[in-house]
Amino acid sequence: MSSASASPALAVVAEDEVLVRLVAADMLEDAGFSVIEAGDATTALDHLTRHPQVTLLFTDIEMPGPMNGIELAQEALRRWPHISVVVCSGRVRPPEGALPERAHFISKPYSHALVQQVLAEKGLV
């Protein structure tokens, strides 16, 4: 998809730890995305609002601020139903039904290969 299109697909990465965010952004760039980074849910929503053509939201669960990753995922899918959402966490496994069906959960630590596989399954790469 990335090599064929004129401009690369857009993705928003929401993650509060700087290095972890860097690694995630790099992984997605390697998969062909142009990445916009956010340190918390509020900023992520802000980016999504300003760039409605974003096709992927990749978010951690535990972040500072009034909203966590699960709530962000729910809100994003409510407002932009076409978006693909990947939620990840090292500590928390979301309880049954907490995540909207369209959101995919990955447990940290995740390998590059695993992320590629998930993106492929979602038809994004």
Binding site: E17, L19, V20, L22, V23, A24, D26, M27, D30, G90, R91, K108, P109, S111, H112, A113, L114, Q116, Q117
Partner: protein, 405 residues
């Protein structure tokens, strides 16, 4: 005997009692001491102890009034902590000076018992208000100590004419000593209970901290792995990419050990099936779906064994994926089974080209093969390579270290 004793006990020798009467009086005091001793052994409640002490002491002294004046360090005076015969509103409330000018204060400060048989005529002491309020004419008091600390004063008072004697002092002193030991015992037991609770809390805290450390180590290793991966992707050189990718998976394997540790209730051992199974899931992502299968016995292993075992499995499976190009489900299979005598048997089998003609594991130069040999030995086994026809089978039998309790 009892009625006679009771009648006799009311009369102390100085008041004209006979020898027989005095004997009965003293025997009764001994009996009361014994009863109190028994009570003190069974009671956990210091207040109840003090109260019962004053009741029995008054009885033994054939007096109406008895009290324990407990020293209040903050205010430097006494509080009427327990007692019998006092008007309402006194026990637990009335206070008195602990200075040398009162009989109780003197006993407390000097440690010397005090007998005052005519309070009104006393030149040594004033008559404290509590005593004046009850028309007390004479008082006898002794220091109450527990564990070498001054607790307060035990005092018997009487509004009647009469004389407290040295023999009475012996009873009072004995009683105070008994009471002191009982109070000390309660305090020791309380101190023991407190330190026991603190110890338990400290251990719990330590457990939580250890888990927290494991979690942070896992996070740090994950970041390192991520950076290695980024670096690999940033290189045009295929060899560099491969080398960094290998390094990354090794770091991730160790991270996986810590990932299990912080989550489990155990901090020193992990479930093998969970751990290796989890690792295999990650290997799976880098190859065709279901090509790598696993069957692992559900046993607990120590952290010391988990790291080499995880790294070994990582080397063997990634090797198999690289050289045997699995396509069908089960083309590469990792199994761990229990064998005789609490040992474990690790096998990795593939359906690839098999071992080269002059394969000699001991002469292998690659880091992967060196690691396999080294790790196998570290686990205490002898690594074996066989032709599985088709493919290769690696076998290692080893005795895991006893998983820490």
């Amino acid at each position: 005997m009892d009625d006679q004793c009771r009648a006799a006990a009311a009369v102390s020798p100085e008041q004209g009692g006979t020898t027989a009467q005095e004997l009965a009086y003293r025997l009764r005091q001994q009996q009361l001491m014994a009863e109190f001793g028994l009570f003190a052994l069974m009671t956990r409640d210091v207040q109840a102890l003090l109260q019962e002490a004053t009741r029995i002491c008054a009885d033994g002294m054939q007096a109406k009034l008895c009290k324990v004046m407990q020293y209040q360090p903050d205010q430097g005076d006494f509080l009427l902590q327990a007692g019998v015969g006092w008007k309402p509103g006194y026990v637990g409330e009335a206070r008195a000076g602990a200075d040398l000018g009162s009989p109780a204060g003197f006993a407390f400060q000097t440690g010397r018992p005090v007998i005052s048989n005519h309070l009104q005529d006393e030149t040594r002491f004033r008559t404290p208000k509590i005593l004046a309020d009850h028309g007390v004419k004479r008082a006898i008091n002794v220091l109450l100590q527990s564990g070498g600390d001054k607790f307060g004063v035990l005092e018997v008072d009487s509004p009647n004419e009469g004389r407290f004697t040295e023999a009475d002092l012996a009873f009072m002193q004995g009683f105070a000593n008994l009471l002191g030991v009982a109070i000390e015992r309660q305090h020791s037991e309380e101190a023991l209970r407190t330190s026991d609770t603190q110890l338990r809390q400290a251990l719990e805290h330590q457990g939580v901290m250890t888990k927290e450390i494991s979690h942070r180590v896992k996070n740090s290793l994950t970041i390192v792995a991520g950076l290695l991966s980024m670096q690999g992707r940033g290189s045009d050189n295929a060899e560099v990419r491969r080398a960094l990718e290998d390094a990354q998976t090794r770091v991730q394997t160790i991270a996986a050990v810590h990932d299990r540790l912080w989550q489990a209730d155990e901090v020193h051992s992990i479930d093998l099936a969970d751990f290796l199974g989890g690792l295999c899931e990650q290997f799976v992502a880098s190859g065709p779906a279901n090509a790598v299968t696993h069957e692992i016995a559900s046993v607990m292993i120590s952290t010391e064994d988990a790291v080499p075992l995880g790294l070994l499995a990582n080397e063997l499976v990634t090797n198999a994926i690289k050289y045997a190009t699995p396509k069908a489900p089960g083309d590469v299979c990792l199994t761990v089974t229990s064998c005789a005598g609490s040992c474990l048997r690790l096998e990795v089998r593939d359906h690839g080209p098999g071992l080269p003609a002059e394969f000699d594991a001991t002469k292998a130069k690659s880091l992967g093969m060196k690691l396999i040999a080294r790790l196998g030995r570290q686990l205490g086994g002898k690594p074996e390579w066989h032709n599985a026809e088709p493919g290769t089978r690696f076998v290692l039998e080893f005795s895991p270290q006893a998983a820490a309790a």
